[in-house]
């Protein structure tokens, strides 16, 4: 055996093979290398110190925090779940008085035949009329107000949907004069939300601060859950462009100490596309519900949901 092979074995093998052992026994240089490896092994040894004092208590503290955090998370999820179950987060948005039209990309092009009536105050289309407070970043808001544009829409409908144009709309319950065909354009849509958990000195004071701040960013409270005295879960809808700014402002405002911060975004593009496909083949009776669903989803994508859990320090 050559020195090179013997030395490779010295360093790499657990136990020297017989042949290598014989070589080392007769080769002073390799013996030195063998000694070097033994010294190296000894040098690798590091005494294991015991856990420092108070280690167990620190672990227990962390576990307590973990359990509390799970409680928080559960409540927050429960709150979010309630919203979804009660007809989705954007259902709240739909009910709002100050709703903002979807952005240009999320444009819902409505086309109506015949002169629209304004005597349909209870219907969603009537609610959509004349919204001057479109956010500046939404660009050219060209939604075709149903009352202002009889006849053809300025935006041509995609060919796939053109066959639907002119079909009378049924099931609206607002009279035969209102027959509308809506055309929904495809584009990427995402519903974004943030969940913040804050530990605060006083829940009521903190809630006031959070709500004031939300209003400053054009947000509106759509839900509030108070599972017990020391906790409140608030949910706001903000213009999509203001969501992050509101979250940042809230974190800077010193309302409380941040326990967790989770962002999520749900791509609803496919969901919307599916609904639109369904819409093409939908019977006149099904159309209004589907259209409403599409509109709600697009409106939700135009909004940013912020859920804030405030919990009083114990």
């Amino acid at each position: 055996m050559y020195c090179q092979e013997a030395r490779r074995l010295i360093w790499e093998s657990e136990e020297l093979p017989e042949e290598a052992r014989e070589h080392v026994a007769n080769c002073p240089s390799c013996q030195q290398v063998y000694c070097l490896w033994q010294r190296t092994r000894r040098a690798l040894f590091l005494p294991a110190p015991p856990a420092p004092p108070g280690f167990k208590d620190r672990v227990v503290d962390r576990l307590r925090g973990e359990r509390r955090s799970r409680g928080w998370r559960w409540l927050a999820l429960a709150a979010a779940g309630l919203l979804l179950l009660s007809g989705s987060a954007w259902a709240f948005f739909k009910k709002s008085e100050h709703f903002l039209p979807p952005p240009t990309q999320a444009r819902v092009v409505a086309e109506r035949e015949g002169t629209p009536t304004s005597q349909a105050p209870a219907t969603p289309p009537a609610k959509q009329e004349s919204k001057p407070e479109a956010p500046p970043d939404k660009g050219t808001q060209q939604r075709q107000g149903e009352a202002e544009k009889p006849g053809k829409s300025a935006v041509p409908a995609p060919p796939s949907l053109s066959s639907n144009q002119g079909e009378p709309r049924a099931g609206k319950g607002v009279g035969a004069t209102e027959s509308t065909n809506r055309v929904f354009l495809s584009h990427s849509q995402t519903v974004r939300s943030t969940l913040l958990r804050l530990q605060v000195a006083d829940v009521i004071v903190a809630q006031g601060k959070v709500e004031t701040l939300a209003r400053q960013f054009g947000g509106q409270k759509v839900n509030q859950v108070k599972p017990f005295e020391q906790m409140v879960v608030l949910q706001f809808l903000l213009p999509d462009s203001e969501g992050e700014a509101f979250v940042n402002a809230l974190l800077r405002a010193g309302v409380g100490s941040l326990q967790s911060w989770e962002n999520s975004s749900r791509d609803v593009t496919q969901e919307l596309a599916n609904l639109k496909v369904q819409l093409v083949s939908a019977s006149p009776a099904e159309r209004p519900a589907l259209e409403q669903q599409i509109k709600d989803l697009e409106e939700a994508a135009a909004k940013y949901t912020v859920t804030v859990c405030l919990m009083q320090e114990t």
Binding site: R8, W11, L36, P50, E66
Partner: protein, 215 residues
């Protein structure tokens, strides 16, 4: 073992006190391993705490027949391997005192042999070199060397901790030792240190083309 199993059952049933007792029973072993892996107390504390937090979270999935100590070691090593390397925390100063149950001892005393001051310095320098070489290795190599050479685990135990076959342990260990040797030779060369006595004269200088340390 029976005691551990009993505590585990209680902890799984939601008894916090039982889990605290498990922490107490295993904290030294876990902390020791974490210290050997990370090489410093700050990271060892963080890592060891995280091990118990993860173990707590995973209690429901822990199989009763498995060894809880191995399970904790496994979590520690996996966390160590997956954790992002922290800057400035990788080295262990040889001047740091060594913790022993009775308190802290200066490292040279803890290291054992009473050597001549000159030999003492030489030895310290060599240990420092080896530690630096070890710290320069990938986490995978470092972990397996610590498990084998420092924790003195068998191949089977290492295989259980790493979740790989014993044969894989052997080959990984060989690669880790080869990597350590290379790092050691490189660092010694950079520091102008002789790894072997008289290596300059007998042509066993690290990096020598004809006869080297096995490269």
């Amino acid at each position: 073992m029976a005691e551990t199993r009993h505590l585990l059952e209680q902890a799984r049933a939601g008894c916090h006190q039982a889990f605290e007792e498990l922490v107490l029973a295993y904290q030294d072993r876990v902390y020791g391993l974490c210290y050997r892996l990370t090489g410093n107390h700050d990271d060892a504390e963080d890592l060891a705490q995280e091990v118990f937090v993860r173990a707590y979270r995973g209690l429901r999935n822990f199989r009763a027949e498995a060894d809880f100590g191995t399970y904790l070691h496994r979590i520690a090593v996996n966390l160590f391997l997956n954790h992002r390397r922290k800057a400035n925390h990788n080295t262990l100063s040889l001047d740091d005192p060594v913790s022993v149950p009775e308190g802290e001892l200066p490292r040279q005393v803890a290291d054992g042999n009473h050597l001549h001051p000159e030999e003492e310095t030489e030895k310290k320098e060599f240990i420092r070199l080896v530690r630096r070489a070890l710290n320069s290795l990938s986490r995978e190599h470092r972990a397996i060397l610590v498990l084998r050479e420092v924790e003195e685990m068998s191949y089977e135990e290492i295989a259980a901790v790493l979740g790989v076959a014993p044969g894989t342990v052997k080959s990984r260990l060989n690669r880790a030792r080869a990597a350590l040797q290379k790092a050691l030779v490189k660092m010694a060369r950079e520091a102008g240190l002789e790894l072997l006595p008289g290596e300059g004269k007998v042509s066993v200088l690290p990096g020598s083309k004809e006869v080297n340390l096995g490269e």
